[in-house]
Amino acid sequence: MPEMNLVQSINSALRHEMKANDDVIVLGEDVGKVGGVFRVTKGLFDEFGADRVIDTPLAEGGIIGTAIGMALYGLRPVPEIQFSDFIFPAFDQIVSEAAKFRYRSGGEYTCPMVIRTPVGGGIRGGHYHSQSPESLFIHTAGLKVVCPSNPYDAKGLLLSAIRDDDPIMFFEPKRVYRAVKMEVPEEEFTVPIGKAKVVKEGKDVTVIAWGAMLFEALASAQEVAENDGVDAEVIDLRTLWPVDIDTIVESVKKTGRVVIVHEAPKACGFGAELLSLISEKAFLHLEAPPKRVTGWDTPFPYTLEMEYLPLQHRITPALIETVRF
């Protein structure tokens, strides 16, 4: 099996599905000849031509608006937003239109599409190349939200997403793009949307993470195992919404303690929803207050970004505190 990084595995999924299904269309800024600023769509333009891999004018609202039109007609567009920080000019199309089309039309029109976009910090991007806006889309009824942490899941989830009948936000952790390599099947396979993965079993505390922070959570789990004899269970959510509540509740019922990690600011971040769901569904099993380790409630800073992110150095003490509560 070939080794792939995240960029390559996503590219492989796109290539596979474009070959298999003529209706799959890639569109976005710079996705064509140059293959995207992160090279995720590299080679697709040469293979499938300018009619399947469309370099658009610089307008995210146009990318999503036209993609919606394509989806309404019956195509399967996979628009790319160059950075998720630049998704806001398309926000109206996503939350007012794509998310509501099936519902408001009584099921007559549907919007199957996958909005791919790099997310997260740690690449020296400052305010506008680092943000993690997932909770805004989770709050919007009608959208599914996916965020793989590794090349294997990314390919499997993207194939599931393109075949799914709903609009899906597909967040790609850009800090992982080239940082992680693993074996990924050349051929097609799927990872189901809506299923989390317990990536490390444990009995003392549950850590919930996704995307680039999964690796920080794992590093902390290892650190507390070695230094403190704490046995942490680590869950990679993979699909953020609709979240895999069963896996979470089962784990928390076992450990009684939970730490949630995400890059986005804390206030109204997805951590708040996870904490609330856990409180609602497993209150009597909680032996300590669930903890959130998140980005601070500030814009994303440039020089001090490593002090902003909820990295291992901040997760580890949170685990210890939660276990010792």
Partner: protein
């Protein structure tokens, strides 16, 4: 910005329709300009006329229902019937129509049942969109007709994507999309026309310039001399037509459809008309415009104008008018009666079709709602 006097300009039909770039067919005396007349068969002109009259009848009746508190809202098309019906009629059967919110006339022209439209006005359990949206927010895929959305402009880029998709699939299907003069200021107008040009999409951009965006007159919406000039910014064709002249509208839009169909790209059609009524049943235009202006525009009533033309051909008279009106009103009354007797949508309709399959949290919420107490029947 504007001074108060500028806010309420007296815009007369004459000052706004003069200039030889405004395409017109029907002359004041009811005859047509032989150079421009599309020479539609008489039965079709009659159909256009009836559709316009029916639109007006429905509008007036729905306004009454709203005042009586029997429906919650209506957004009418008084005075704009020609540009709505003329443009809708110019679309070929396989073409698509993306509505704004003021084009139920186009919907009915496409054959959508009046009963179903009235069900939508009532949001009852036979409303195809299950009472989920406000009145006049219909959807009609089977009629190759879009889905009304309130946010201004969003349908414009969508129409471009759909047109592109149809051509990509090798189909000869043109997409028309309606919007108002106010919508020319929206993000999506800009993006839609720009993408339409660059993608060379088979789209006809139908701008109903009815001179008002709620209380804001077109003069305050943009400093551009003509809305059709905005096409220049996108390298596409722009034309102006007398939107109170159903034959002129038909001809210009049909030409745009044919150009699009031939792969010659999109056209922006500015249809000059006038919003005789309030913006909607929630609006009282006396607060911001002078009655004078409205009265002068009443003089250009597109229905009166077309009728005069039909009379020059001896194709219509008071008796036929009376008969058609009576019949249509009766039909509408029956629909209203039936709609009012129907039930509200099922509770479950709140929770379905959010996604293709209902996820766990909506299952839970639906159960919580259905097993919980009911709201007071207030409203």
């Amino acid at each position: 910005m504007q001074t108060q006097e500028q806010v309420v300009p007296i815009r007369t039909p004459e000052t706004h329709l003069e200039g030889d770039d405004v395409f017109t067919v029907i002359r004041p005396d009811g005859t047509t300009d032989p150079n421009t007349d599309p020479r539609l068969p008489q039965h079709m002109v009659l159909d256009l006329y009836k559709a316009m009259v029916r639109t007006r009848i429905v509008d007036l009746q729905l306004e009454r229902l709203q005042r009586q508190g029997r429906i919650g809202f209506h957004i009418g098309s008084l005075g704009e019937e020609a540009c709505i019906i003329g443009s809708a009629a110019a679309m070929r059967p396989n073409d698509w129509i993306f509505p704004c919110y003021r084009e139920f006339g186009a919907l009915l022209w496409r054959g959508f049942p009046l009963q179903t439209y009235v069900d939508n006005m009532y949001g009852n359990d036979e409303d195809p969109v299950k009472g989920r949206q406000m009145p006049d927010h219909y959807t009609a895929r089977a009629y190759r007709f879009g889905s009304v959305s309130s946010p201004i402009g969003t349908q414009i880029t969508q129409a471009v994507g759909m047109g592109w998709a149809a051509r990509h699939k090798g189909k000869d299907e043109v997409v028309s999309v309606y919007f108002g003069d106010g919508a020319t200021s929206s993000n999506e107008f800009h993006t839609g026309l720009n993408f339409g040009g660059v993608m060379n999409a088979p789209v006809v951009f139908l701008c109903r310039n009815n001179r008002w965006a709620i209380s804001v007159p077109t003069e305050m919406q943009t400093k551009a001399a003509k809305l059709s000039d905005k096409a220049i910014a996108y390298g596409i064709k722009g034309v102006r037509v007398d939107g109170n002249d159903v034959l002129a509208t038909w001809k210009i839009v049909r030409e745009a459809v044919e150009r699009a169909s031939r792969g010659e790209g999109p056209t922006l059609v500015e249809m000059l008309t006038y919003r005789i009524g309030g913006h909607s049943t929630s609006d009282d235009p006396r607060a911001y415009r002078v009655q004078n202006e409205v009265e002068r525009w009443r003089g250009t009533d597109p229905i009166v104008r077309l009728r005069r033309h039909l009379e020059t051909k001896n194709a219509w008279d008071d008796a036929r008018e009376e008969e058609f009106k009576t019949e249509t009103e009766a039909q509408l009354k029956t629909c209203i009666g039936l709609s009012e007797a129907k039930k509200k949508p099922e509770l479950s309709s709140i929770f379905t079709e959010v996604f293709s399959k209902q996820p766990w949290h909506l299952k839970e919420q639906q159960a919580e709602c259905e097993n919980g107490p009911r709201a007071k029947p207030a409203h």
